[in-house]
Amino acid sequence: MFDMTATVLRNFLSKTHTRLYPFQVRETFENVRGNLDIRIEECIMCGMCQKKCPSQCITVNKDAKTWEVDPYSCVYCGICVDHCPTNCLFMHKEYRKPAKIKENNQQLQLKGPEKKKKAQE
């Protein structure tokens, strides 16, 4: 009988295991696969990310110079980040916040990457 009393007192006097969200937010770890994004100035519009994506959620339009991802189909696997030849795709540390309207993440490239000058023959 006294085991229970000891447990009750111990639980009463120690701090809680839960945290008071949203006042206390847990800090995120490094290398977490959060939201997918792109540094659009470095993109060479090769379409590799579109080919490799398992859920086919990326659309690259070379003529219109747009890169678009549907964040509701994306499974956040990070395969596109692994295969991008210029490393312009990256994943944020935080997950996407809830949104009121469903819209895709579309980026338009206004100024492309600098073409490397060929070495003088």
């Binding site: 295991h17 770890f29 490094e30 290398n31 977490v32 696969r33 490799k52 994506c53 398992p54 859920s55 499974v75 956040y76 696997c77 990070g78 395969i79 692994d82």
Partner: protein
């Protein structure tokens, strides 16, 4: 006179929808007829429109709780077909993540079992302990549940020595936490009354009906796919956890002791992990047929892959352990009372999304 009561697809005890028509006579179950198909997604047909690298991500999503092991077995199949030698460090890392998955799956099941008895605090405690494992997975692999670390040829990420030390620390803490809740589970009168002698599956029945995993080992048959020594299991000592009685209590204890065993395996692996590459180069397309088996938290998983050298695989056939555990469930139910049905259904650890990929 017989009444038919539906043990519905929605039930507080079931994590996924499973329908059983129970034919009752005065509270004793005479027969049970299953109906599946509530979460059938047809993932095997996707093999004809996604190439073999993309299939890794698809195969991971057959089940959320045991996803890493699905990907591991699929990668083992393709590597076997193409003759790729996976570096040793990748093998070790894969198995460390698989054992972490086993721990989180058994803790999830433990919480659900406690909830089925009405012990909600125990449910919360088991899932609180599970959160430590999820933290480890998030910090080392990137996501909490579907960790996407396997790829054909190896793994995608490495674990630094600091992270490995932290994992050992977390394993030690987990063991202390488990010791605290062990007494509550094993010494409780209610738990014992409702599980001992309930849902008995004899040794002979378990073997003949093709049971897998803790079902088989709880009935005294010492068979565990990890004994075949695939992956990094050949570098550690391993003996399967076996109990003799074949009732729900035996299965509970098998899973609980497997938790301790997983913690021990993780410690052994981290002590022995070699340095080296984490992935091998992959060239070309696979041809041929191969069958690979591995041990999921719920039992034995079997993959049959057939390829003809095209971009898409010909056939990927997945036989999950809950698929094999459904006939033993149908054999366990006759003769028990209606109030025992939820506990028996939960003691096979049903993962219906695996069953009906």
């Amino acid at each position: 006179m017989a009444t038919i009561v539906p043990f519905g697809p929605q039930h507080p005890v079931l994590p996924e929808p499973l329908h059983l028509k129970l034919v009752l006579e005065d509270e004793i179950v005479k027969e049970a007829l299953p109906t599946l198909g509530y979460v059938h997604r047809g993932l095997e047909t996707l093999a004809s429109i996604r190439d073999m690298d993309q299939m890794v991500q698809i195969v991971e999503r057959v089940c959320g709780i045991c996803s890493c092991i699905h990907a591991h077995t699929y990668c083992m199949c393709i590597e076997g077909l193409m003759g790729i030698e996976v570096p040793q460090r990748a093998d070790f890392l894969r198995v460390i993540w698989s054992e972490l998955h086993r721990m989180h799956s058994h803790l999830l099941w433990l919480g659900l079992l406690a909830d089925a008895f009405g012990m909600e605090s125990m449910f919360m405690h088991a899932w609180r302990i599970r959160e430590r494992v999820m933290d480890v997975m998030e910090a080392t692999a990137g996501n909490r549940v579907i960790i996407s670390v396997n790829k054909i040829g190896g793994v995608r990420r490495d674990m630094s020595p600091d992270q490995l030390r932290w994992v050992v620390q977390v394993a030690d803490e987990l063991e202390q936490e488990l010791d605290k809740i062990k007494a509550v589970l094993t010494n409780d009168y209610t738990v014992k009354k409702r599980t001992v002698g309930v849902g008995v599956l004899t040794n002979q029945q378990a073997y003949e009906l093709g049971a897998a995993g803790p079902q088989l080992r709880g009935s005294g048959v010492a068979q565990d796919m990890r004994m075949t020594g695939y992956g990094a299991y050949k570098y550690i000592d391993f003996a399967p956890v076996v109990e003799k009685d074949g009732d729900s209590w035996a299965r509970t204890m098998v899973r609980f002791r497997e938790l301790y065993q997983s913690i021990d395996i993780v410690r052994q692996l981290i002590a022995k992990i070699p340095d080296g590459e984490i992935a091998a180069k992959v060239k070309g397309k696979p041809t041929g047929e191969i069958v690979c088996r591995s041990e999921q938290p719920r039992g034995e998983l079997m993959y049959y892959v057939r390829a003809t050298g095209d971009k898409y695989l010909d056939r990927v056939r997945i036989r999950t352990p809950t698929f094999a555990n459904v006939p033993p469930l149908l054999a366990m139910l006759p003769g028990c009372e209606m109030a025992d049905v939820p506990i028996i259904a939960l003691s096979i650890d049903p993962c219906i999304s695996c069953t009906e990929r």
